[in-house]
């Protein structure tokens, strides 16, 4: 034996799951929705996704270079952010919207606060809200060939009727990635099967949302109305892919359920009483801000907490 031996403190073995393997699974699980977006909305959607992902990776690289830090794009989280942002853009938006959004998401929301793991809100959603505020007309224009400008939820809010089957399949107007419930659910199943997410947040979010809509929307528990709300807007994308973002959700199961219920409540309030028909983005962002508080009050009770001598 010639080589020196490695010495370290125990444990000496590690699982095969890494940050990049998790991020890669998230990217794979988003592909069905992305692919559907391409088919549904055509070339401009492809352009927006490309620009968004490339800009996000570029922004992180440049920021790391300027700050003399190790480049962190190898963890693939910038790609996830870029992709999620693009899926939240209207299909007709100009390419520079995607670029500005990606830069804002990576630099302002993520890197300035210390990079991956330190951001206090979901970068993609932070950027989307920034864009909605700054470029309101572009960000709310969903009119493309074949579809009317009104999204199903807007139609619903105006008192019109919607075709739920089309919404499940995804042949409606909306952002690039949010329209097809089927494509999103395929991705969600991938995430759950590979153990990337569990159902605490999505389930508590969706169930509480249904209850709150039933109570407050003035339609009672009308099955058609509730299904339209479930399939419309960014709810599915938000519940499975954005609300479950590790960094910006509570760390314990108890906290995750509280968080899910809070999101359900906020989404309902914003959709029913807010000025816009959409509410998922803002709900999740407000939820993100409350996470430290939720984490604080939902600490697990340690093993043997109640144990007493000679009980």
């Amino acid at each position: 034996m010639n080589g020196l031996l490695n010495v370290s403190s125990n444990p000496h073995i590690r699982s095969n799951v890494t940050t990049s393997s998790i991020m890669l699974l998230v990217i794979i699980s988003l592909l069905p929705a992305t692919g559907f977006g391409f088919v549904n909305f055509g070339l401009n959607a492809v352009l927006l996704v490309t620009v968004s992902v490339v800009s996000a990776v570029l922004a992180e690289t440049v920021f790391n270079l300027i700050c003399h830090k190790k480049n962190t794009i190898g963890d693939f989280s910038a790609i996830v952010t870029g992709l999620l942002l693009a899926l939240n853009l209207p299909p007709k938006a100009p390419w520079w919207i995607a670029m500005i959004g990606a830069f804002f998401a990576i630099i302002v929301v993520k890197m300035i606060f210390g990079g991956l793991g330190q951001n206090f809100m979901n970068p993609a959603l932070g950027a989307r809200c920034f864009l909605v505020i700054s470029f309101a007309s572009i960000m709310t224009d969903f009119e493309v060939d074949g579809y009317s400008g009104a999204t199903p939820l807007a139609t619903l809010k105006a008192g019109g009727t919607v075709n739920i089957l089309d919404m499940v399949k995804g042949f409606t107007s909306g952002t690039i990635g949010e329209t097809s419930v089927i494509a999103l659910l395929i991705g969600a199943i991938i995430l759950v099967l590979f153990g990337v997410i569990d159902l605490y947040i999505p389930a508590s979010y969706i169930i509480s949302f249904v209850i709150f809509i039933g109570l407050f929307a003035g339609h009672g528990f009308d099955i058609n109305y509730i299904c339209a709300h479930l399939c419309g807007g960014g709810l599915m994308l938000g519940a499975f892919f954005m609300a479950t973002d590790y960094v910006t959700r509570p760390i314990t199961k108890k906290g995750q359920v509280v968080y899910g219920i809070l999101l359900g409540f906020l989404t309902c309030v914003l959709r029913v009483f807010g000025p816009s028909s959409e509410g998922v983005s803002y709900a999740i962002i407000i939820g993100n801000l409350l996470v430290p508080l939720i984490d604080k009050v939902t600490k697990p009770s340690f093993f043997g907490k109640g144990a007493v001598k000679n009980a």
């Binding site: 034996m1 020196l4 010495v7 000496h12 910006t248 959700r249 760390i251 093993f303 001598k309």
Partner: protein
Amino acid sequence: MAKLTFSGGIHPFDGKDMSKDIPIKDHKPGPELIYPLSQHIGAPAKAIVKKGDHVFVGQKIAEADGFVSSPIYASVSGIVKDVCEHRVIAGNNAMCIIIENDGMYSEMNPWEVKELDSMTSAEIIDRVKEAGIVGMGGAGFPTHVKMSVKEPQKIDYVIINAAECEPYLTSDYRKMIEEPEKLIEGLKVYLKLFPYALGIIAIEDNKPDCIKIFRALTKEEPRITVKALKTKYPQGSERHLIYATTGRELNSKLLPADVGCVVNNVDTIIAVRNAIFDGVPLLYRIVTVTGDCIKNPRNFKVRIGTLYSELLEAAGGYKKEPVKIISGGPMMGNCLFDLDVPVTKTGSALLCLSNDDVSRMEPSACINCGACVNACPSRLVPTELSKHSTHGNLEEFEANHGLECVECGCCSFVCPAKRPLAQSIKSMRKIVLASKRK
């Protein structure tokens, strides 16, 4: 029936197949055996031999220094070569007695053996103390201290920790397959000490053959029951084993006896049996020599004091260049950088691995995924504790129950960012505990 277990825990690659089906082999020691004076928790033993003395097998060479201490016996006959500093498993130098093996193995007469039924509790405990028996699962807590419970009638369960949840180790398994009756005899010693206790043999369900053997052997024993546990690390952690088998929880401020339980490892129980039934002190232990670098992985019955380098040779040497060598299992074991260190009462394995996950994977930022929270058997938030540790924040560390950590290492194992969570928490625990002693 729901499987007996606890929340949290992990399922690492177990590697037990390499060595589990090969019978234990007696290892003939080499020319020199080394006995560190501290092989247990508590005060080191005091040497009572000097350079040039002749010793027999089973002769006491160091005596206990206080109640929480344990004597040491020569496991070979020969001449005391020196009492001096020598490298030990932890990597430092410590006082050791070095004996030159004369190859005769001339033995001392065993102690007088009495019928178990005619022995008093004090006699049993005294014999176990004299025999130098300590917890052989790894902690090395002197066994007679565990036996000296203030109110023996309040002990409801005597639990044999036969979980062997640590990956790669098969020494307890082999021992149970080869000499199951000895384990039951040892357990009976405990049942004599604790007249109202129920004996529980707790075995993980990845050893169905063991469970079957013990169920058959204890059919007629009203005071002994066999419990099959869900296979999961760290099932053998004392607190979690008590919870899985009896439903009783305890925390860091309580001892098992406080909740009416006494827990002992397989090898320890057999040592107790040997001291009482055969009148011999602790001279041997079973060591698993395994890992993907070892040519012929198997278990050896080793005389305490034997060098690890000899065991490596006895197992056929390397078939691949090792990168990491561990004394004990991959979750709780110590790294070795030199194989010329002796087997002690607590060293359960020599594990040689050609792949070192730790150096291959670089730590990165925590992504708050919660894997450590889900894996923590003590239901803590390891990533938060680790943060307090690296910030040196003693108050927050304690306020978040850092002292409840059992140092099992599950958090470090599961972390996708490969952060050394357990390592930082462990060092902080030492600091906090030391600051409390002041």
